[in-house]
Every structure is written in structure tokens, then in C-alpha cells.
């Protein structure tokens, strides 16, 4: 069977419209349409993509062109999968929204836009779809907690997409008026550098990388809970897509730094990527809101993708691509788990929660698996990707980047453990005893699927590595990852007779499984712990009024935070003051030019004339 990709885009839009119409009649039915729609789209794209049945012909959207590329397919499958999984949550959340029908429609529209981005071979329409995603997703955000997040999001997104546009237009100019995507690779000289800078800028904003990350935590924290999952798992990957086009596809930028055999441009990206990791980790550690914590973790994971890509080696780029998959799965699962908790508990603040495991054991497991993957612990997908990125970085001899990546990994132990402990473990809070119960089956289903996939990608990486190799061939890159049985071949050491290093996830998983089993035995055998009340704290004989401040998750890492809390808001303050400067400039201009006195106008006319005629007659 063959189908054009435009059919999928149009079908997604049609599903969106249907979801709107039906949603106007019945809220839940409309959101069920989003499940049907995104599942159909995901299934169609994945099935046809793997069987080679997708074509890029256009019969209706004749103004643009599509091409089926392996990397486009890669991203499209991931993102439509994330949308499909998240869509299961829509019916359960739809009542919270101010405009439920609109929500369903825009949900589908942003999926359509994302698919359009991944398959466009016309750069202008790639931008078209890019912007389309921006404004459709824009109106999803204010349905959540804060209205301000939307303008932050738009400001950064617009800056990012306009950077992309500028790069595209430079390419257009350099390639004799052609918008074809292959033009990215064929620019040279100064243009190449400009294109590289602006495209990376676009990638950074979408990915939420330092220093253009401010919007990400704001949006992920304040957006409706399922939308946060969509952003973190799906739409953020648009940035990775642009990063792939810019960093990997364009090749080395600038001169080569001899000592580490790396291009200057890639060096900068790697450094910023490392900063993103460190910054995201440090910020995540000090959050009290589980969603915000995950948001910063999402940011720091974006840094890994950038670091991987910027290495420009087989292991690095493959690691980056693998991390896209692993992170998409893990962060979607984590956000969905938090969403499931928030739905019944009504909050995501850690100090207000506790002991949810007694009522929601499956959700707990899902979250546990997700954070294991995010922290890069075997046997989950995140482990493989991070391992490959470590390898690539160390192979390049970039010691500081390596430290940053390892720091990020260790840091993630520190922070992902906290929501686990604060939300799920500990004693059950009295106020949740009646209200909280396990999520319904249709919410558990996507979470379980995601968890299984997390394990699958961590144990049997073969399928995805094959796919990545196909992408390399498709992009005409000289990279290749060799699979040795179930093991991934790494670098050959300098010692003669010693073959390439091997990473055998299956073996690791088995060892790990044994370890877990042993731990479980110990857990069973040992005496049960004594149950006490969560707020059973002594406070010098005083009665405690604000007991949640004494929750053990409050100020958990206070000593660590004190080390850097002074510097943490540097970028945020920078953007705030930038906005203030614009406002001040505007107010100044208003004061200066817009008075109630017409003579001021006359004065300016004279002044301008004198200025313009200065060189001519005076």
C-alpha cells in the first residue's frame, strides 16, 4: 500500500476539525477523537514507513513538496507515538479546560504541523509548519495554570523560528533561489557560518537549551498536564530535528581545533550542551514542584542530545539519536505519571504529597522505570544512549564535557529520586486516603506501554540501531554503528589485539535482573518497617501549624543548593531585564515623541531635515 504523507497531514487536520465539532457536542467524545486520530496517524506512518509505502507526492498541498527521508520518518514516528500515548489522557483531563473542543482541535493540529516539519523538503514550508506548530500549541498552554507562560513561550519560540527563517532565507539566497532542503549542506564561507549560528539558535530555543531555555520550565510547569508531556516528549524534538539538520548535516563549521581534532562550531555547541546539562541538573535539584523538576530534567536531557550531535562521530551522533528515542519515551512516561497523580491529588507540589504508592502502585512503577531511564541506569534506554555519548566524548578527549555529562547523570540520581520518595513513598497522607485511587485502565495503558518500551530499548537496541544506521546512509554521512550479536561495538582501543569495546545490554539487563531479585528477597525476608505518621515530627513541644514545611522533602538538598543559589537566576534575570529594557525604551520613546504638543513634531521635522541635509548643503 502506498500513501502520500500529505494524506496524513490532511487527515490529522481533518481529525482535528472533527474533534472540534464533536467536542462542541460532547466534550469527552471530542477528546476520544484525538485518541483515534493520533493512533491512526501513528499506526499509518509507522506501518507505511517501515514497509516503504510512504510517498512524498502532493496532490492537494501542491504549493509545497515532501520527501520521505529516514530521519524524517524517525522523528515522525517518535512524535506521533508520543501524541498517541498522551491522547489517552485527554478524556480524563478535558473537563479542566476552559475550551475543551478547541483543545482537542489544537492538539491534533500541532501533530499535523510536526509531521509537516519532518517531511518537508521545501525549507520555506518546513518553516511554515514550524510556525504552525508554534501557534497551535501556543493556545494549549494557557488552559493550564499560568497565563504568563504563553507569552514567554511565544517570545522564545518566535525568536527561534525567526532565526530558522533567517537561516533558510540565507540558504535560499546562496542557492540561487532554491528552497530545497539539500541546500543546507551546500552553503559555504561566511554564509555557512551564519546559517549554522542561526539554525543552531533555532534548535536551542526549541530544545530549551542554555541560554535559550527560560521558556521550557515555565511552559512545562504551567501547561495542562498532558500538554507538558507532549511538549517534553514530542514538540521539544522539533529542536532536535533542527539540531540534526544544522549540527550534523552541515558538517564541521569553522576551523579545526588541532588538540582535540574538533571544529570550532561543534566545540561551541558541545560546550553549550554541557552547560545545559549542568544548569538543568542544578536547577532540577532545587525544585519543589515535581513537574518543574521534570521540566529541568527535560532541559538537561536536551543538552545530552546536543553534546552527542556535536561530537560528529558515529557513536556521538548515534548516541544523540538514541537519546531522542529514550528520552521521548521516558519523559512522556514520567510526565504522564505525574499527570495521573495530579489528576487525583490536585497538586504536583512534593511537600503536599506522600504515600501515593499505596493507592497507585502501577503509576509508581511507571514513574520508577521512567526515572531510571532518565538517570541513565541500566537496563533502560537512557542508559544506552548516555553510554554512547560518554564514549564519544571521552574518545574525543574532551575532559570538561565528559565531567559535565557525568555530573548530569549523577545529578539526575539526586533529583529524580526526590519525587519518587516524596510523591509515592512514605506514609499516606490522611487527606488523600479517600480521594486518591489508581488511575483508570485507559490511563494506565499508555503508561505501561511506555514503560515496556523503556525496558525494550534498554535491553534490545538492535532495531533502533538499525534505524539509526539507515539514517546515516540516507543523510550520506560516513557513520556506522556495528552490532555484534546483541552488543553494540564501541571504539577500538589502542592496544594491539584488543577488539572494539562492546556494550551488551542484554547481559547487563540479566545481571541487573539478578540484582533486583536479590534485593527483593532481602526485602521480603527482613522485618517490615514500622509505620508512623508522616508528620510525626517533634518541634520542641510546639504545636505545628504549617506541617507541610516539615515534610522531609522540603529543602532536601539545602546544603548543596546554597553553593550555587546566588548564580542560578542569571539567565532569567538577563531576559527579564532585556524585556524591561525594551519596555523602558518604548516608554522613553513614548515620552519623547508622543506628547500633546504639536510643536514637538515641528521641532523633529526641522531637526531631521537639518540632519539629513548636513552633508549636502552645510
Amino acid at each position: 500500500m502506498e500513501l502520500s504523507i500529505e494524506i496524513f497531514i490532511l487527515a490529522t487536520l481533518a481529525f482535528g476539525l472533527m474533534a472540534y465539532v464533536i467536542g462542541r457536542l460532547h466534550k469527552q467524545l471530542g477528546s476520544i477523537m484525538t485518541i483515534l486520530g493520533s493512533l491512526t496517524i501513528f499506526g499509518g506512518i509507522a506501518y507505511l514507513g517501515f514497509t516503504g509505502g510512504l510517498t512524498g507526492e502532493t496532490a492537494y498541498l501542491t504549493f509545497t513538496q515532501f520527501e520521505i527521508s529516514e530521519f524524517g520518518l524517525f522523528f515522525a514516528i517518535i512524535v506521533s507515538f508520543v501524541f498517541a500515548m498522551v491522547s489517552f489522557f485527554n478524556p480524563f483531563f478535558i473537563k479542566q479546560y476552559k475550551y475543551p473542543a478547541l483543545y482537542s482541535m489544537l492538539f491534533m493540529f500541532s501533530l499535523a504541523g510536526a509531521i509537516g516539519v519532518f517531511f518537508s523538503s521545501n525549507l520555506l514550508y518546513l518553516f511554515f509548519f514550524f510556525e504552525f506548530v508554534v501557534w497551535t500549541s501556543l493556545f494549549l498552554i494557557p488552559m493550564g495554570r499560568s497565563k504568563k507562560a504563553a507569552s514567554w513561550y511565544y517570545g522564545f519560540s518566535a525568536a527561534g523560528s525567526f532565526m530558522l527563517l533567517f537561516a533558510i532565507l540565507m540558504i535560499y539566497n546562496a542557492n540561487n533561489g532554491s528552497f530545497h532542503i539539500s541546500g543546507i549542506g551546500s552553503v559555504t564561507g561566511t554564509t555557512q557560518i551564519i546559517v549554522f549560528i542561526f539554525m543552531s539558535g533555532a534548535a536551542f530555543t526549541k530544545l530549551g537549551a542554555f541560554p535559550l531555555h527560560i521558556w521550557l520550565p515555565k511552559v512545562l510547569t504551567n501547561a495542562p498536564d498532558p500538554v507538558s508531556a507532549v511538549f517534553s516528549g514530542g514538540l521539544e524534538k522539533l529542536g532536535a530535528f533542527v539540531a540534526l539538520l544544522a549540527i550534523v548535516n552541515m558538517g564541521g563549521i569553522g576551523f579545526i581545533i588541532p588538540s582535540i581534532d574538533m571544529y570550532f562550531g561543534q566545540m561551541i555547541i558541545a560546550t553549550l550542551g554541557a552547560l545545559t546539562i549542568v544548569f538543568g541538573t542544578l536547577m532540577a535539584i532545587r525544585q519543589d514542584d515535581a513537574k518543574k523538576l521534570l521540566a529541568y530534567s527535560s532541559m538537561s536531557n536536551g543538552g545530552y542530545i546536543l553534546v552527542g550531535f556535536s561530537m560528529l562521530t558515529s557513536q556521538g551522533v548515534a548516541g544523540g539519536l538514541y537519546h531522542i528515542v529514550a528520552h521521548a519515551i521516558a519523559s512522556t512516561a514520567a510526565f504522564l505519571a505525574i499527570a495521573a497523580v495530579a489528576r487525583v491529588a490536585g497538586t504536583t507540589k512534593m511537600k503536599e504529597l506522600g504515600g501515593i504508592i499505596h493507592k497507585m502502585p502501577v503509576t509508581y512503577m511507571v514513574y520508577l522505570i521512567a526515572i531510571i531511564s532518565m538517570a541513565g541506569i541500566p537496563p533502560m534506554g537512557g542508559f544506552i544512549s548516555k553510554w554512547m555519548i560518554f564514549q564519544a566524548v571521552i574518545d574525543k578527549g574532551m575532559i570538561f564535557i565528559a565531567i559535565a555529562t557525568v555530573f548530569g547523570s549523577i545529578g539526575s540520581f539526586l533529583y529524580v529520586f526526590r519525587p519518587l520518595a516524596a510523591l509515592f513513598l512514605g506514609q499516606e497522607l490522611p487527606q488523600f486516603k479517600k480521594t486518591v485511587k489508581e488511575a483508570p485502565f485507559f490511563m494506565l495503558l499508555p503508561m505501561i506501554i511506555l514503560s515496556l518500551l523503556s525496558v525494550y530499548t534498554g535491553v534490545l537496541p538492535g532495531v533502533i540501531i538499525d534505524f539509526i544506521n539507515k539514517i546515516f546512509v540516507d543523510m550520506q554521512l560516513n557513520y556506522n554503528i556495528v552490532m555484534n550479536g546483541f552488543a553494540i561495538e564501541g571504539y577500538t582501543s589502542g592496544i594491539e589485539g584488543v577488539g572494539p569495546s562492546l556494550l551488551n545490554p542484554l547481559l547487563i539487563a540479566c545481571v541487573f535482573g539478578v540484582g533486583v531479585f536479590v534485593a527483593f528477597l532481602i526485602f521480603i525476608v527482613l522485618k517490615k518497617s514500622k509505620k508512623i505518621d508522616l508528620m510525626d515530627t517533634y518541634t520542641a513541644g510546639n504545636f505545628v501549624y504549617t506541617e507541610e514545611h516539615l515534610h522531609y522533602s522540603v529543602d532536601f538538598y539545602a546544603p548543596l543548593e546554597r553553593l550555587y543559589e546566588k548564580y542560578i537566576h542569571i539567565m532569567k534575570n538577563f531576559y527579564k531585564s532585556l524585556a524591561n529594557k525594551v519596555r523602558e525604551f518604548g516608554a522613553f520613546m513614548k515620552y519623547f515623541f508622543f506628547t500633546n504638543k504639536p510643536e514637538i513634531t515641528v521641532f523633529w521635522i526641522v531637526a531631521l531635515m537639518v540632519f539629513l541635509l548636513w552633508g549636502d548643503v552645510l
Binding site: 507569552s151 525567526f162 518604548g586 504639536p598 521635522i605 549636502d616
Partner: protein, 463 residues
């Protein structure tokens, strides 16, 4: 059929209308409908007046540019009138004169005749703004406008002394051969028109006028007049003074500052109407910048797209303000919760101004920007062309932030603001919003239309 009827019929109607005050609103509606329909039946021609061939006599130039402008401006004019006339019956005669003046502006091929029409439409505009009930602001507008048109006249006098012709096409050849000498009069004329076109720093009147506008004056000045003046400006910049070199660069820089300052001022404002008016300053800057660098065809459509959007934006905000009693954003918050249809149209208009895809604004903004990067594009500016797309893009980012802020406030806050819009207004606004979407979807057709504005010779005005 002769294009002259577009001017003569409204004038005749205006003269008659003072005798038959009762029916004058209907006369106005009828004539403005006529003015909207008539351009569709006009042939492209050089219309001679009084039997003297140009350049001796006055002529009207009907080319594709004029036709496009006429349809857009008269269309907007008709809608503004149709929606508001019931409330402002007293202004019927003045609006008829304004219609004649605007059509004259767009049609005339004579520089002095243009001045006459600037005066006619200008005085009509002052009178329209008297309905704001802010006499001092109207007076400021009057002073600024008069200074502007005097400067235009002064420049024209000097030019006439040098060239001996008032005909635009003739003047274009003269200016081409004597670029250096025409610099000074050009500047005078540029500043003169700049006052009306809201360019910084000659636009202090705008705040007083649009900041206190009502249903009629807001839409009239910000949408109809702004479009017409921008197009006239374009006609002069693209058809008569094809400025180049350092002068073009300086002017472009002034425009660049206008754009950025306009957006910054809008960003610094908290009143809905102020936001819109400063944004229209920036938009005017962009349109004229496009004309200056030589991207006239798209600039034309930029102006039209902006006019349509501003009609919706000002119309809705003024109505809301009238009902709520304040145009502070915080007072208006949640207004769209109970007025979804109006809200959606408003959103479409705003998104179109931001240049987001699916809407007309995207098509024009994108193509204007592509114009800068066209490999065979020869800009009128020396070197460094790419700085201006960056200015436009930066401006768009600022613009986006405050529009999104405005939209989220109007949509997502809870409030019990309930404003009744007349059904007619609703229809008009929805039709315009749909038009913005349709033009945004059929971009191929729009591109063809625009391409047809440009002659094979590359000049786009004088067919």
C-alpha cells in the same frame, strides 16, 4: 468606463447630500457600494481630464496597482461605513467627501492634484476624528497634518520650478536624470507624507487620535486611511522617486527605528488601543520600508493585509471599550469568553498581523522577506541588505509577545464582561477573518496576483 466617476460620483453625492439630510446615509451607503463594485469594471487606461493630454493636463492612472488599491480601500471603506453609519448619520456628507478624496489619492497621476486630494481627505479625516470628543487631540492632528501637507507643497513647488512638470510619469524621468538636485524637495515631500503615514518622529498626533478613537474613527484612520496613505506613499516611492544609495539607506534607517520603536512602545503600553496604535506605527514603517528598498508589489499587499486586520482589531477593541468604559487590558480581560465568534475573528486578525501560517499575514510577510533574499534582487540600498529583514524579524518577536499577552488576557481570564455586538458587525468581522484565512490558504493564487503587478521591465507602477 471612465475612472473619473469614482471621484465625481461621491463628490456629486456629497454636494447633493447637504440638501437631503434624511436620505444622506443611504446615499453614502449606495455610493460607497458603487465605489467598491466599480473598479471591477474598469479598464486599465490613462484617463485624461479636461481634454489635455498629459503632461499638460491632469490625468488619472488606472493600472493594476491602482485597481488593487482601490478595491482594498473602497472595500474597507464600505465596511466601515456600513457598520457604523447608523451611529454617525451626521457625518454622511463628510464621509462622502472622504471617499472622493481617497479615490483621488489612489488614482491621480499628477503631483499637485495629489496635494489637493491629500487636503480633501485630510480635512475629512480631521472632521471624522472630532467624533472622539477630544478637541485638543484633533487640533494637534490638524496642526501636524497641515504642517505635513505644507511641506509636501513646498517640496512640490521647488520640484516644479526645476522640472516644469507636475505629471508623475514625467517627473519620474526628470528625477531619474537629476537625482542629486531633487534630493531636497524629495525630503520635504517625504516628511510631509510621513506625517500622515505615521512615521516616527512626525507621528505625535497618532496617540491622541487613535488612543481615544471610537468605532468609526478608529477603523477609519487606522484601517482605511492608513492603507490609502501607505499605498500613496508607495506610489511616489516606487513610481516617482526611485531613491537609491545613501539617501535610501538613511531613510531606511529612520524607518527601521520607526519599526523597532513602534513595537517597543506597544510593548510598553497596557491599554489595548495604545497597543494597537503603536503596532500600526510599526506596520506602517514596514510597508514603507518595503517600498523604499524596492519590494513594492508585496508592500502593497502588506498594507492591505494590515488594513484588514486593523479593521477587525480596532473595531472590536473600540466596541469593548465603549461597553466596559476603559481600554486597560486588565479591565477588558476575559471579554472573549462570552463573545467567542468575535474573539476568534480578533485572534485571526492578530495572528495574521504576527505573520503566522494559515493567515494572509504569513503570505505577505514571508514573501516580503523572501524578496530581500531573492538572488537577483537589486535593492535600492547600498550593501548590507540583510540588516532590514533582521529588524523586521526582531520587531515581529516583540510584537508577538504583546499580542499573545493581550490574547491570553482576553481569552483565558475569568470575567463576566458581556458585550453585545450588532449582528451586522459580527458578520463583517467574521467575513473579514475568513477572508484573511482564505487568502492565507491560497497563497499560490496570491503570489500570481502579485507577480502580475510587476511588469516584465521590473517596474511595478507605471504599466
Amino acid at each position: 468606463m471612465s475612472a473619473i466617476l469614482l471621484i465625481a460620483v461621491p463628490l456629486l453625492a456629497a454636494f447633493i447630500s447637504i440638501l437631503v439630510k434624511k436620505v444622506s446615509p443611504y446615499l453614502l451607503l449606495l455610493v460607497s457600494l458603487f465605489a467598491l463594485v466599480y473598479p471591477f469594471f474598469m479598464d486599465m487606461s490613462d484617463v485624461i481630464i479636461g481634454g489635455f493630454d498629459s503632461p499638460i493636463g491632469i490625468n488619472l492612472v488606472v493600472n493594476k496597482f491602482a485597481l488593487t488599491s482601490l478595491i482594498a480601500v473602497n472595500g474597507l471603506f464600505f465596511l466601515v461605513v456600513a457598520v457604523n453609519i447608523a451611529q454617525y448619520k451626521k457625518l454622511s456628507s463628510i464621509l462622502l467627501v472622504a471617499l472622493a478624496g481617497l479615490n483621488g489619492l489612489l488614482l491621480t497621476g499628477d503631483l499637485f492634484n495629489l496635494f489637493v486630494f491629500i487636503e480633501i481627505s485630510g480635512i475629512a479625516a480631521y472632521l471624522i476624528t472630532t467624533t472622539n470628543k477630544k478637541p485638543l487631540q484633533t487640533f494637534n492632528y490638524l496642526v501636524a497634518g497641515t504642517v505635513g501637507s505644507s511641506l509636501y507643497l513646498l517640496g512640490l513647488i521647488i520640484l516644479y520650478n526645476m522640472s516644469g512638470t507636475l505629471n508623475m510619469a514625467d517627473m519620474a524621468t526628470f528625477v531619474e536624470g537629476n537625482g542629486m538636485y531633487t534630493l531636497f524637495p524629495f525630503l520635504l515631500m517625504f516628511i510631509g507624507l510621513g506625517v500622515e503615514a505615521k512615521l516616527l518622529p512626525f507621528n505625535s498626533w497618532v496617540k491622541g487620535i487613535l488612543g481615544h478613537s471610537n468605532n468609526l474613527s478608529g477603523a477609519m484612520i487606522a484601517s482605511v486611511y492608513a492603507t490609502a496613505i501607505a499605498l500613496v506613499f508607495g506610489k511616489l516611492l516606487a513610481g516617482v522617486f526611485q531613491i537609491e544609495g545613501t539617501l535610501a539607506l538613511i531613510i531606511a534607517l529612520v524607518l527601521g527605528i520607526t519599526i523597532l520603536a513602534g513595537e517597543a512602545m506597544a510593548y510598553a503600553s497596557t491599554k489595548a488601543r495604545e497597543i494597537l496604535l503603536y503596532s500600526s506605527i510599526a506596520q506602517a514603517g514596514i510597508v514603507i520600508l518595503l517600498f523604499t528598498v524596492g519590494l513594492g508589489a508585496w508592500a502593497t499587499f502588506f498594507a492591505i493585509a494590515n488594513g484588514v486586520s486593523k479593521f477587525i482589531l480596532f473595531g472590536v477593541v473600540n466596541r469593548l471599550t465603549e461597553e466596559v468604559g476603559s481600554d486597560e487590558m486588565d479591565q477588558l480581560k476575559g471579554s472573549f469568553v462570552n463573545n467567542k465568534l468575535i474573539g476568534v475573528s480578533f485572534t485571526v486578525a492578530a495572528l495574521s498581523i504576527l505573520g503566522l501560517p494559515l493567515f494572509f499575514g504569513f503570505v505577505v510577510k514571508m514573501n516580503s522577506l523572501i524578496g530581500f533574499f531573492e538572488p537577483d534582487f537589486v535593492s535600492n540600498l547600498p550593501g548590507g541588505n540583510f540588516i532590514f529583514p533582521i529588524i523586521i524579524l526582531v520587531a515581529s518577536v516583540i510584537e508577538g509577545v504583546y499580542f499573545v499577552k493581550l490574547l491570553t488576557k482576553l481569552w483565558y481570564k475569568d470575567s463576566d464582561v458581556k458585550v453585545n455586538f450588532t449582528p451586522l458587525f459580527k458578520y463583517v468581522v467574521v467575513v473579514l477573518a475568513v477572508a484573511l484565512i482564505v487568502f492565507g490558504l491560497f497563497q499560490g493564487e496570491v503570489e500570481e496576483l502579485v507577480a502580475s503587478l510587476i511588469n516584465p521591465g521590473g517596474v511595478f507602477i507605471w504599466n
